[in-house]
Subunit: 268 residues, 3 copies
């Protein structure tokens, strides 16, 4: 059994034993899906966004997801408030910068969260993370149109500047804390035909950070586990409808499916 | 055929014949799910939360669900407005006090709804209902951590004080109108791995109240039917993804599945 | 191969090749579902509703859906803003007047969108479209209770007055641009037991308008394709839960299922 496989068993066991709470402030499109991903992985979700309660609610959490996918001004202020509180309490904050670069509001909100909260992890697609790294990027709504080379150095630099672990997902995922660089090769093209796959990957990262800390290792594990469950689901499904069902079943059944042996994580 | 079985056939037949409208003001996470539960049971859902229209909308309804699971100030004021209107019109109001006790905002909002609206039914988990009954309770986000004895007397007292039927759900469900006490033993542990199961149980209660009135009998029936469909779904599923699909199918097919014989409702 | 079948192959191929972006401002209940319908059809969804960003976001789109199903004042103003911008940019605007006639707020909002935006397509149920055509209609929440004759002339008149293609859906769908009238006979009664079927039909219309323009032909095609996939799903399902899964699979697999031959579109 390899090191990753062993580490996976430990962390997965800890998640299912402790049921860490993951407080999401996320978008309307995926709330139900990411709550179900959280539960299927053995953790416990809560969704709460009112400025009047987020600081109290986040205190229960073991990880905090900020996802401005359907943002508006009161939601941004709630994210800033609860994000800061989470940092104060030492709770890992994971930012999913949905659509950064697509509109000024999104880019500004993500930059403001970066500056004022200082998230521990950023998980986005190639275009979104390039924008946050100060590079140009081709984006269309919330889709990355980037197909070129991965600017590994720019991502390392972003990680060092922000002290965040940077996760760039796509056909291959890249994860760096500014020093180590991991590559994850799990996943399936069917994931592109279901909404909220990226957001769910962020949730998977958050769940592993809740027990393993916001390290490049936890992030890589979360992405690899989610991708491997996507592979299992793709084997069973007849399309994106049955894929959605099958990936939740796979996440739930992971401990009995020898998932650890499927993880394809490599240090670059 | 027992009394409950006979009564179930009557009420279920009436629901599917009349298609009563259930107006929900509920949380973002479960809106789609509870709308589908309503439809699968043969009733008709509507979701509307604008302060400017809730009083007009609720007038179409045969039952009204108030669920502050992702509350904010304008939603609380809409719940108060439409709740009061429903009461004026004699439409049963069912409160699901999601996360009461977790934050001040939630506890206060639920107490305000109790006082100003006077719901006919309260359906919550053990911690939530204990909080409303003025007891201490261990809560973590929207999860009850209560494992101790069920304070039956406190719940009877709460029912008498509020003139509401109290439904406390968990592995066993307890239902009281302050005089009679029912226990429902239907359900399956898989229900804990799908988001919105509690909220859907509230919807099932509302659907039965829409035709049977907000009695302890209607509430027990709603919870038993929902739990029995959970048992059927658990038999068919491979995890929480396929469970969600199967429970909607089971609710839809209930009339042809001899569901009445599965109901495990007992008077204490 | 008939004309419709040939035209279907062309448009469907164009959708999957170009992945047009469909910007939705839609209701909370169906956001996830309509995003998945968009993806399964080969297009790309975005959901964004903040007044501060909708004009920028809609500029990426090839079609724009306005659906006030869970409306509130800031969402109405966002719909007006982005709708006007879309029209300026020549992007087809599709209005789904959910619950027009049920409350004053909904009727007024839909009328205001009609007047100030001038949508290219209106897709509603019989009661909703009758209300917009200035007729009386029996409505209960968001359900049409209309069972009488279809007022074809009133719909033609509405189409001419508004310069919009009018789509009235139900067991049979009627589509007119004020001159030509099409009838679509695809669909299955199971569609009435799943929430968001009407909203998803609107999305299917928007996807075809994105490549074929907002014509009566594109609209008829969208409705027939969605209905035909409903027929395929109904053949496979055991209830509304499995139906939802199967219709997404069917939309995804349409090119390999000889769907063109199933379309039942007729000129009146």
């Amino acid at each position: 059994m390899g090191d990753w496989e062993k580490r996976y068993k430990e962390l997965d066991g800890e998640i299912r034993a402790k049921r860490p709470m993951i407080h999401h402030i996320t978008n309307y499109v995926v709330m139900n899906v990411t709550a179900n991903v959280t539960l299927a992985m053995g953790a416990s979700p809560v969704m709460a966004h009112a400025n009047e309660e987020v600081e109290e609610m986040v205190a229960f959490a073991s990880a905090h997801v900020l996802n401005p996918g359907t943002l508006s001004l009161p939601w941004i202020s709630a994210m800033l408030k609860s994000g800061k509180k989470a940092k104060e309490l030492g709770i890992p904050v994971i930012l999913d910068p949905v659509g950064a670069g697509a509109t000024q509001l999104r880019t500004d909100a993500c930059r403001q969260i970066l500056e004022e909260v200082g998230p521990d992890v950023i998980r986005g697609n190639l275009a979104e993370v390039k924008i946050l790294a100060g590079e140009d990027a081709a984006i269309k709504g919330v889709d990355s149109l980037e197909t070129g080379e991965i600017p590994l150095d720019a991502f390392k630099e972003l990680a060092r500047q922000t002290s965040a672990t940077i996760c760039v997902t796509g056909p291959t995922d890249y994860i760096t804390d500014g020093y180590t660089f991991y590559r994850v090769e799990n996943g399936d093209p069917m994931m592109g035909y279901v909404t909220g796959t990226g957001c769910s990957a962020t949730t998977a990262v958050a769940v592993f950070c809740a027990v393993g800390g916001a390290t490049a290792e936890s992030c890589s594990m979360g992405l690899a586990v989610f991708g491997a469950c996507g592979e299992l689901a793709a084997d069973e499904c007849s399309g994106p409808g049955s894929f959605q069902v099958a990936i939740l079943d796979a996440l739930f059944n992971a401990p009995s499916q020898n998932l650890g042996a499927m993880l394809r994580i490599e240090e670059l």
